[in-house]
Amino acid sequence: MEDKTLYTITIFSENTVGVLNQIATIFTRRQLNIETLSVSPSAIKGIHKFTITSYADSDETMKKLVKQIDKRVDILKAYFNTNEDLVHQEIALYKIETAKLLATSQVEKLVRKHNAHILDVNEHSTVIQKTGHYKDTQALFDELAESIGVLQFIRSGRVAITKSKVERLSDMLAKREAKGENEQISK
């Protein structure tokens, strides 16, 4: 991954069947790997938001990718950012043996040090949660794995929000609807 930058691509789409397939194809054609993917309903009813991360060699590649995604009929808006423009988070869950947790104070120290939380404890296993950047969740994993071992580990895709003032989707939609009405009137 040397010389490549991690980009975050944000896409708003209509909630129709097959949108993910349409998006994924455009990544495939340009030989770009999807590193992480997170999809959820946006704040606006009927509109879904995709947050995708991918390594690419230049802004140019990303511009072309985003324009081709934006071009699809079901896509409302697509844009990309680099890490500097974003506040971003991932969430990770770690399952460890409860017996090992109880045997030493190591886990407590790690949970405090990494600002993690314990979500669930039963007689067999304990689930710890940590949110943060990739390197943060990875650091806790490495330390847990080294000290008492990790039974299971899962990390979510990235969610991100831009720091700068960007056009809000609701404003963009209002503009589009107004343009639509004008077009209809002028007919």
């Binding site: 209509e14 349409q22 194809t25 009929v73 409302l76 077009e183 209809q184």
Partner: protein, 575 residues
């Protein structure tokens, strides 16, 4: 909508589909029936006076015919096929239409919604298969969605940068009943085919054009699709800008126009290709800098400032970085720029094109169209045919040498006269596309140039020609080789003719079996008479011309090369 309705006020989904097509003013459909689309064909039977259905002999021909129809007529082409193999057989044509921005609505049957995903008989994931090669692909599973989906399909196919749309209709949606109402789509919030034109871009473009001493325009199909031929002409004439056309931009402006310098690209004309690398301002209008036009991008027009007019934002800065980008419909943007220009003159610059035209004529064209002796040449045939039609015919081509000879030597006086597979280069396209073109423009002469290879890919369509009396003039340039591949083998593969020689059937006998009049010409003396006979004949005609076995298309810029690599053949060199 929870209204009670009586059985009488409802219609079947199939009937709703046909009424939706009628609401979109569809007059002609190219199709082929099968199990999962039978209810639609049944409904079509009741409307056979309103919608003409052309039964092709293979679904691939249905889609290519719809393409030819759309390209000549400005209408959206419609193809109707069954599920599974019916749908997969149209995928080549759908891809072709996507590459060449042809408005199409393809309707495929699909197994009943309850069977979807069960590997049912003749089930194929048509949406999954066609999604990457369509502008929009949608599966209709409920009868009530039919009018809505058809309305969106026609809107999406024809607006903005046109393209193919696939509607995949489950059989139960065709059979179930529902009340019918139809509303044309004219707005989708997620899709803006009418981008706002930025006044600043218009001003920047006009300023650059005003400052240009050596401007060159590149004309693409975007002009034809926008119906902006007159606007283009006004612009070019006022600014006095010479232009070259992409293969799909051919015929936008008459071949004889004094500013028309011919075709761009690999087998294009010398002067516009060479001047691309000498101009100071390059104005690309509705074209997409395909690699067959540009060759090596690192040596392409590096000296020039580039203005790119296009309606598709994804094309801007995709292959070539533009100094000024003008996003919008050429019919709107061109007059805005023209309005900011004073009458200009570039007589000296235009004069610089002449030596290259002369050079190309001396080294290539003269020998190709007036060889005098020896075997008949391909360019000679095309030249004689276009002359005999007064340059007024529609030219459809297949792919390969026949295509390059057709595009190089056929001349045009009318727009929408060049029907060829530009982006995808689909062999087998010519005959069915020519059939579609004749159906779409019945008043025009349609000349189809095919090779012996491509003709045999869709030759079954002689049956369609026979059944519907489609008056197409088929000119078979027969060299008993896959000529273009053979040409590359000769130039780049040490003359190792791997799998390009063909043992061919008696084409005239085959045509005869379909009731198509035909004539085979070997001797040059017979050629004029045969062309005359073909054009005078009422009905389809196959003119087979046995041409030079090892004919070559020149000039040629080898793939990935640049203008200094141009090959002229016959021992000629550029400098």
């Amino acid at each position: 909508m929870k209204e009670e309705y009586s059985e009488q006020s409802t219609i079947s989904g199939s009937e709703a589909l046909i009424r939706s097509l009628l609401a979109e003013e569809v007059e002609t459909i190219f199709g082929y029936p099968g199990g999962a689309i039978m209810p639609v064909f049944d409904a079509l039977y009741d409307h056979r006076d309103e919608i003409k259905h052309i039964l092709v002999r293979h679904e691939q021909a249905a889609i290519h015919a719809a393409q030819g129809y759309a390209r000549v007529s400005r209408k959206t082409g419609v193809a109707l096929v069954t599920s599974g193999p019916g749908a997969t057989n149209v995928i080549t044509g759908v891809t072709d239409a996507m590459m060449d921005s042809t408005p199409l609505v393809v309707i495929s049957g699909q197994v009943a919604s309850g069977l979807l995903g069960s590997d049912a008989f003749q089930e194929a994931d048509v949406i999954g298969l066609t999604m990457p090669v369509t502008k929009w692909a949608y599966q209709i599973r409920r009868v009530e969605d039919i009018p809505w989906a058809v309305s969106r399909a026609f809107y999406i196919a024809a607006s903005g940068r046109p393209g193919p749309v696939v509607l995949d209709i489950a059989k139960d949606a065709q059979l179930n009943r529902h009340p019918f109402s139809y509303k044309k789509t004219d707005f989708l919030r997620s899709y803006d085919p009418f981008p706002d034109v930025e006044e600043d871009d218009i001003r920047a473009a006009a300023a650059l054009i005003r400052s240009a001493k050596k401007p060159l325009a590149l004309v693409g199909q975007g002009v034809i699709l926008a119906n902006a031929e007159e606007e283009l002409k006004a612009f070019l004439e006022k600014a006095d800008i010479p232009f070259g056309s992409t293969i799909l931009g051919l015929s936008a402006i008459a071949s004889s126009h004094p500013l028309n310098c011919g075709m761009l690209g690999m087998h294009g004309n010398l002067s516009p290709n060479i001047k691309t690398n000498e101009c100071d301002v390059l104005i690309a209008i509705g074209m997409r800098f395909d690699d067959r036009v540009t060759g090596n991008l690192n040596t392409y027009a590096r000296q020039a400032k580039i203005i790119h007019f296009d309606i598709d934002e994804a094309e801007l800065n995709k292959n070539v970085k533009a100094t000024v980008k003008v996003l919008g419909n050429a019919k709107q943007t061109l007059p805005m720029v023209t309005g900011l220009l004073e009458k200009q003159s570039h007589a000296e610059w235009i004069e610089e094109f002449k030596p290259y035209e002369q050079k190309e004529f001396e080294c290539v064209i003269k020998e190709e169209i007036h060889p005098g002796a020896g075997p008949i040449k391909m360019g000679e045939v095309v030249h004689k045919v276009t002359e005999a039609t007064g340059n007024k015919a529609v030219c459809a081509t297949d792919v390969g040498q026949n295509q390059m000879m057709g595009t190089r030597y056929f001349k045009f006086t009318q727009t929408r006269s060049m029907i060829t597979s530009g982006g995808l280069g689909t062999m087998g396209f010519g005959l069915p596309a020519g059939i579609g073109a004749k159906v779409g423009a019945p008043g025009r002469t349609v000349c189809i140039f095919v090779g012996d290879g491509g003709l045999q890919m869709t030759m079954q369509e002689f049956g369609t020609i026979m059944e519907y009396d489609i008056d197409v003039k088929i000119i078979l340039l027969n060299n008993n080789f896959l000529g273009m591949v053979r040409q590359w083998q000769e130039l780049f593969f040490d003359e190792r003719y791997s799998e390009t020689r063909m043992k061919n059937p008696d084409f005239i006998k085959i045509a005869d079996a379909y009731g198509i009049k035909g004539r085979k010409v070997i001797d040059r003396e017979e050629l004029d008479g045969a062309i005359e006979e073909m054009l005078a004949h009422k009905g389809a005609y196959l003119l087979e011309v046995v041409v030079e076995t090892k004919g070559m298309v020149y000039p040629m810029i080898p793939a990935g090369g640049c203008v200094s690599d141009i090959l002229l053949g016959n021992g000629h060199s550029l400098y």
